[in-house]
Symmetry: C2
Subunit: 160 residues, 2 copies
């Protein structure tokens, strides 16, 4: 094991919150299940069918997502009828929606222009469609080109 790898330790993330996020929810299956959850899917087999994942994958990932606190599992047992399981978004999970939308918006433009947009998101109050935007704290709308990116305090920079 090299010095550098040792530094990175056994479970990387290298102190970057993007890396940390990807380690948690970066897997394709995870993201697709979160897409479904944000669409209101709650039942196991709906997750599997709609995300087009195998049952074992679905089971493993749902369990992971519950363990990570992005979903909550509720077992209903309305007396007389069969038990029902529900997986529902937590606040932590709901807060991932902007990331899903950002990925969707990019994909709509560049990755699958043929397909129509997935995930129509509307404002609950006024019904108007919702998009991801960049805004500065002064309230200006910021285009992707009008941005100055620099390393934040959490990112380890290395000399050139």
């Amino acid at each position: 094991m090299s010095d550098l790898a040792a530094e990175r330790a056994d479970w990387s993330t290298d102190g970057c919150s993007i890396a940390a996020t990807l380690d948690l929810v970066g897997a394709r299956s995870t993201m697709l299940l979160m897409r479904e959850a944000s669409l209101g899917t709650t039942r196991f087999s709906d997750f599997a069918v709609r995300a087009q994942l195998s049952e074992p994958m679905t089971a493993r990932r749902l369990k992971d997502l519950v363990a990570s606190g992005l979903l909550e599992r509720h077992t209903y047992r309305e007396p007389g009828s069969r038990g029902r399981d529900e997986y529902r978004l937590t606040a932590k999970g709901r807060d991932l929606v902007p990331a899903l939308m950002a990925l969707r918006q990019w994909g709509d433009r560049y990755a699958s222009p043929e397909a129509g947009p997935t995930l129509a998101v509307d404002h609950a109050d006024c019904g108007a469609p919702v998009q991801v935007e960049l805004r500065c704290t002064e309230g200006h709308r910021v285009g992707p080109g009008e941005v100055e990116v620099s390393p934040g305090p959490g990112l380890v920079r290395t000399a050139s």
Copy 2:
């Protein structure tokens, strides 16, 4: 091979732009390299060191990214000095910044609260920090809870 798998064909994406995006740039290494590119990193070894990736990975992914049109490779040869290679963001690549920011914002909150924020993004005009927001087309700011998500036209729904 099952009927369903055959339907999905050899390269899935199942008509969802989120899935398509993940297939293109979903790999951890890819995202980290795009983070670096958006930070202004242009040289091969800087990519490798700063993203903490091995050289072979770095080489493979950079090549992929160039092939997908997210980065452009320029070879400089200022007469008299050594040749220099640069990888620079294309517009397509720059448009991924909102997605990176959305992932970062989620991670800052939930995945690595200890580490400070990676990627400080500021508005080039006024210098104020930039964030990802949800806004509806009426201009209202929308919280993650005030959102009504429904399947868009591009998403294949399946009966329950």
